[in-house]
Symmetry: C2
Subunit: 261 residues, 2 copies
């Protein structure tokens, strides 16, 4: 805690984000819950009820064996043509096209598409694997909500602890530079909090105000995990999330309702 014991006011709300250390390279069939618990111990932390465990999509995908060796990929004519035009690896372009349900934009070597889950992101979430050896790329987990729920259940069973789990990925977005972490999987918490109908300070009823808290938790986790994947697990402590089964799919906007497109 940062607050000194003799402060004059009521306790200030505080949330702490801890990046877990000592995580080894994650290999296919890795015991993800075991790695979270071991790295928490390595970091001097014991998971507690109410914690949020944020895990990068890459850690989940690797443990689930969602790796593909580019040497086994035969590029389509479209992939080869696009790759040649923009100096890309045609096999990687092929994998991105296969992982896409709908192409939003193909330009300047980039592919922005809607994945089968419904997420709109660059390269259908296909990423370098960071796994040594081979020419492996890392695909998004098949069902990140299920991945989150499984990790949550295993942590409960092994450590007798009731946590929420968020699976994060970093996505670009329109109008703003840079990428930010968002939630692509969730379990144990309401991903959206609807403040509509709650009176604000003046007793007025607020109009549409649904906060995407799972995205904010994912974004906050990046402050400690960083981009280089040396730290794929973060624990967020002190955030009073609303308990629920939870699903990041709830955060996918119905295209027909999407005025921001």
């Amino acid at each position: 805690m940062v607050a000194t014991p003799d402060h004059s006011g009521p306790p200030a709300p505080s949330v702490t984000i801890i990046g877990l250390t000592g995580v080894p390279e994650i290999l296919p069939d890795a015991d993800l819950a075991g790695l979270v618990l071991a790295s928490a111990e390595h970091s001097g932390l014991r998971l507690a009820d109410g914690d949020v465990v944020v895990v990068t999509h890459k850690a989940v995908a690797k443990a689930e064996g969602r790796l593909l060796d580019l040497r086994t990929v035969e590029p389509s004519p479209l992939a080869s043509q696009y790759a040649a035009a923009w100096n890309r690896d045609p096999r990687q372009v092929e994998v991105v096209l296969r992982e896409s349900a709908r192409i939003v934009r193909m330009d300047r070597g980039l592919i922005i598409s809607r994945t089968r889950h419904g997420f709109v992101c660059a390269n259908a979430g296909v990423d370098h694997s960071n796994v040594p050896g081979g020419e492996l790329v890392c695909l998004l987990p098949l069902d990140p909500d299920a991945s989150a729920a499984a990790l949550r259940a295993t942590l409960r069973a092994r450590a007798d602890v009731e946590v929420a789990v968020v699976v994060s990925d970093s996505f670009g977005r329109p109008w703003r530079e840079g990428i930010v972490n968002v939630a692509i999987g969730a379990a144990g918490l309401a991903t959206l909090i609807d403040y509509r109908g709650q009176p604000d300070n003046d007793g007025r009823v607020m109009s549409a105000t649904i906060m995407a808290v799972a995205d904010e938790l994912a974004a906050a986790s990046e402050l400690v995990t960083g981009k280089l994947d040396r730290c794929p697990f973060a624990v967020i402590r002190g955030y009073p999330y609303r308990r629920a089964e939870g699903s990041a799919r709830e955060m996918i906007m119905d295209p027909a309702q999407d005025l921001f497109r």
Copy 2:
């Protein structure tokens, strides 16, 4: 700190977010730096070098007198027509149109536009004021980067402390439900961190990977400030930001470069 003293590993990176308490209603010409320092003290916190102070746009706008009394607003025919079609207040629609440099979308009673600063958001950032009395709406600060820089300079002068300042607002976005806090003003930190060219764990050079860290800090702050504006100030401690003059305008994507649109 959460870590116990006998942990086996190196110190785990940790970041703490504290919502400052005891903030009174912010009125025009309020001394924002004074309010931050008083609420920090009320919360038992002393600002320290390296802290990030996140302030909601509404707190800044109110202190800068960016309030408009709807009773003084004469709606244009366009505003009246749109308001009548969607059961909105024509004066509020008029204010939104005046605050917009370009309309992105007008549908279902909502207006998504580009503000004069370049931000794309709903209702040009025009919001209920929460100021008691009258029919006041709250406009975005004229120059949120300058607001952040001024607060940073005053905090340095009065409290001899070197902090970064982020001015936050909550924005909707395409493809995903819910709103998230983003940075609309910044001072004292690099808002974008460019990891391009840094080798990843395997020694590969990563492709485009620019993290919008100011947006992640803004999102993290919402975990303690919430939406109801009772807590307009947050302090983020322990995040090793890159010191720079800083500007949230750097995060505005050049439309010609924006493949995500």
